[in-house]
Symmetry: D4
């Protein structure tokens, strides 16, 4: 492509540049990260994406973002738990990924992050399964589920507190394991620093890590793997 | 397997338990992490692994570890740069991974971590290619290499300083990108904290991160992806 | 000047000392930093500055500060986005700086900091241009704008997340680059620590850094350069 | 006791005050912490303790401390691994604690801390057993040892890296579990901060924590429990 | 137990897995940690626990949690101070622990943590006593209470600010001492980091530490000791 | 004094122990630190102190504390700025300190801390003077005041931002200088960490430091010096 | 330029890519950062740069690097103090910058950083002057030098300890001020963190900051300003 | 004084400016801080100070500094323990301070910092006494010394580990208390951060703090108090 071609694929709004090259370079269109944007800006970006592809996904959508999007796009699916708004293509295509993305959580309090990951993984064309509340202090909860673990193509493991679950899961399977630390905890958790450091130091080789509470990023990584 | 079966697959030394279950559970045998072990302990573990499979890999091998291993296993390949010792199976089997693991470094000073990653990826059955010294301050160095980037199955991106390279690479490809921060830098690098935080906050979705200087972990994750 | 002369140029209020030496020493009068001051204190200081020079600039002005200033100085321009209140001299003089101050932002969420910088740069006598939402994960967005980048006398680069944009810009131009980390992000951003450290460790030589979210400071530095 | 009585139980050297009240208040005499003391000071304190009770224990004893103590007290047992010097009473009395103190380590590299704990626990009158190299990435290594775990009166769990082992052990037993983070690791371990934070955030209730590498403190706490 | 037996003891809700193995493995049933759970989820878990054993304990219960529990279980005892809800067995059995758990606080502001600890210790079958506002800056307040200190089987010491009290208490008694740092303080307390670090570095051997404000964890540890 | 005498000087409330020994040991009675106490607890403690000495001082008094105290003690002087409530003895005695305590602030935003210090210093019997808004970026503001600085017996220097003022003042006088960092600032101030570290590293020898925003502590230290 | 043109300007060594585009894009050729490179790698890069332009500059050159360069390029000027090796063009051209770069240091211990800055500034075509040991605790040392300060086009201010000097200098001049924190200090300096934070929070607007001990980066920024 | 007078009191060496104003402004001449200076620089500064006043004090003097000073000034008193070199005036004048500076240490390992403080306090004209190894874990060691504590004009309290001693001492006396945290400890001491934070959060009002291991600074502050 020439620089001019490139330039034409970037749509310039006063406050944003919509990058219509993404489907070519990264395999999927831009996702709207609502944090720090006004509801009006979010809707305007969603309109451009919907016009180009009939679909959009917005994450970190607070109540005002979600209301504005739901009002403008009545067909959009809005999740308060996961703080997402998703307008699926109509009709929604079958999953394109090779296998299943398994989303595993250590505790009930980690469910919002799991929801963000699940919506994202689905939007990117993946089949999603879940395993919930299987933290290591009751180790038999995960050990009685090794069949589920071993049938997944990629596993996202979400945990707050001491963040130990990815190390145990990483030792039980051959599949890639993506660890997501959460800000669940208090005191010396320091907003999720404790599980973040734990996961980065995992003794189970092959575990990779994303930012605290970043269910979105884990799902994109999982989808890249599931489509590779 | 019964608990007794499990027990028989664990070989107990006075200072270590060799876990011969790993090939079944994780897809490859244990790798020896030399840090904090005596050369004698390292050799003793290597002997058990060699006896079981004809091969071993040792990482974080300081001079004393490397000398002891080279003396006991003359056929082992020892790398001072990557601090590894690798005894390949004889004959060494062809790579089993689906595609190529591309190891990309931002600067010359990141080469030791790249070497650890390359040896590990090879030991785990992957074809390895490299792209060296393509940091973002001379952005055309990486941009003239997009073909190489796009032909890889998995990309490991190794960078110190501000750790920006994974964000640029992540935006140029569809493949999974594993970022490795290095301790290259000084002052406010705080031993690699700066690129670690940068990579965890990458605006390129789908980038996952491993510990500072952890070329080994990145390669294991890449191999899991390349074999999935 | 004698100590007595100096003393006469300092106007003492019960809660502040207005430093009328600043235009001589630093080239421009004091700017009112509203954080931690009451609206009444802010208005009182603004009155002294307006009396001395017919103009004032207030930054970090929260709603109560802005309302009090707008009420007392109806001609003042108030920006909610940039949290500024600016009373321009009447008539407003032409820019005195040598060239253009270019204000570049990585994402839409960085716009409040850009606004603070733009208002400040204008108040200090600079021509201002902008380049918005050109973060590195879609690298062609900035690469198609190198002409704009190269025509600026000074470039302010504002970025949250991993803070990589100044390194790319610094490698594309000869002009001074001032990097402003923002608190845009979450989790391991630690309130902007991640981009701050990244920018301090930039591999692009010649990048200097100001405090997190400090659009004001970046603009003052840019103005000093543009007037030197 | 009167203040004068108290005063008589404190033996004043120019550089230290030997506190002969400790057996009455805390149940055992002072232990010599060698860090930052000269070998001469350490020997002088050991002499006073030996004179009073026929025994002493020195921890954090570097080579120079160990040589000086071994030369002065040929009967003392010196451990290079655990950096301890112990002069047992002659004859050594039978253990006085109720049950067994089990010292568990996640990896081979944690053995120095385990040795310090073992020597200390023995010196304080406890029966000691060990379980070595049972980290969570090969979870069956610990699961096949639940009988050993459940027969202990107190369990000390020593782990570096992500520090996950105490959470798993804490979930398998009713006994008190004392977690010891170690500085084993690199990069984002930050000298043991990672396992320290993990252990403080353990989801297994009832786990308490001591300082990084503090095998001594864990053993004293275990002994207090075992004698209560 | 076979894996199937294990599986049957885990009750699967859509958002949680109730672990009915805990009384066997850890000696008491699960406690509900309300942080990050919805009131509905908390009530649903409480119902399963009540059905199984006639009792439950919920900690970190905010107003909404407490109201929902009080409405559903009118007999439950709700503490605003300690943020707990406790449904005692009816009739409540006599304490089963060997001795007394003494809960000591440095200042009045530490009382919420003490209350959480007291309710938990009682729920786990321990006799509880208290010593309040005996911080070290008025050292005679604790020194005139050494009889109370020495009669306890286990001592929980709760302190914010500089966290010095456990060191003084640890030097006065033979019993195990569990230190709880609190977030009481400001500035360089950094949310309780100051007393946390102080307690981890206590010069009084045998002091163990739990997370900041973790009265619950301290009580579980104390109960394990008191029942060992 | 016998232990019984000591015991009688401690007045035990259910939630606090009033230490009537303080005037003897520390030279002044207890001051009420309101943070974390209920208004009822604060009033109850104030009543005991007023009964014993006809006076009390409460710091960190939020609106609810201040209202409760003002209602119960109409004669008390309440400061919203300094968050204090002070019931002076009637009649208020003349200052007892040797000289003047000078309270110096770098900026207008530091005034709340200065107010807390001023009220405290007065309550402890000191003559107080002030120097306001003399930060180092307009260095002549402080240099034209060296006579005031040199006439003080003790100087309290309060500064946020970079906390440089104590170093300049410390170099201009012979008197003791107590530095108080404030949380005034944003971003890389990290809640006052920046001026705290700066003051601890002051190149002006003889500067000592108290906690962030701790005007109270600075005043007590100044009073001890002024009365020594 | 076409991608092929770009490609031809990048010289590929096995361990580095020499970027001959830099003179066009950034205004000067690459500088060799020796940290983490072998002496052989450094010499090889220097040879390519010398061949292209007759000149090179190497920074962070340890003894082995300096010896290798001095041996291969006898004409190179090697500085142990500044850890630099500079091969000037022959003949060395006159300075091309508009004015003078003034390098100011707070203390004698900051001289190594000043030397690195001075050599770099000269190599980039700037006239350099110095002001040494003018820290703020003896404020008249800098105040008697305001003429020197005001005659500079750009001022680099280098300081360790509390890093206050840039705030004072920034308030005395109109020129751009670049602050360099140094690792001079101990304890709560935390390797230069204290002055780094102080400088980022400077109350003197217009101060920008580079990494700890980064004399090189400050000089490149100053040169960009001096050539703009 | 005129600027010219000021200028004449500053003696300019190529690497330092000797500030002969200090006796007038701060009450004593400059002290040589050796860290980061060459032995030659230190000797050159010492010569100027000796010439002006017949005396000098050097702190943080490593072996090379001490040897150079001892060789050039045979009469100087050199302390390896305290890393000081002191050339007393001949004859040494009687102490000029009002009372005694008491230097108290928590443990034997704190003695080097105490030595630095003692030499400095003496050099500044103070009578010095010591109380050694009276840490809080054996609380009666300090309690039996309250007479000594109460007879001092100023108390310096030096402690590592948890840094609790200043809080206890501050509660026992009316005199000013200066707390010095030391780097004695390991692990979560983080180089003295633990006692530093503890001391800044002391519940004993009136305690002020200096940098970690800064015996010098504590002594200067004590001397200012003792001479005020």
């Amino acid at each position: 492509m020439t620089p001019d071609d490139l330039g034409r694929l970037i749509e310039r709004l006063p406050f944003a540049q919509i990058d219509h090259l993404r489907p070519i370079t990264q395999g999927h269109q831009e996702v709207i990260f609502c944090l720090g944007k006004t509801p009006g800006q979010v809707v305007a970006i969603a309109e451009r994406l919907e016009r180009a592809t009939g679909s959009f996904l917005a994450t970190r959508a607070e109540a005002a973002h979600r209301q504005a999007l739901a009002h403008r796009f009545p067909r959009a699916e809005v999740s308060e738990l996961g703080r997402t708004a998703y307008l699926a293509p109509d009709p929604e295509p079958a999953p394109t990924g090779r296998g299943t993305v398994l989303i595993t959580t250590a505790g009930t309090s980690d469910l919002p992050v799991a929801e963000e990951a699940a919506v994202t993984a689905r939007a990117l064309g993946n089949r999603v399964e879940r395993l919930t509340d299987v933290g290591v202090s009751g180790i038999h909860r995960i050990l009685t589920q090794t069949d589920v673990l071993r049938s997944a193509a990629v596993i996202i493991v979400i945990a707050g507190m001491e963040g130990a679950l990815p190390s145990v899961v990483g030792g039980l399977v051959k599949a890639p394991v993506i660890a997501v630390p959460t800000s669940v905890g208090y005191g010396a958790s320091f907003g999720g620093l404790a599980p973040l450091l734990a996961m980065l130091n995992s003794c189970a080789a092959g575990v990779t890590v994303v930012n605290i509470d970043n269910g979105f990023g884990a799902a994109v990584a999982a989808s890249r793997i599931n489509h590779s």
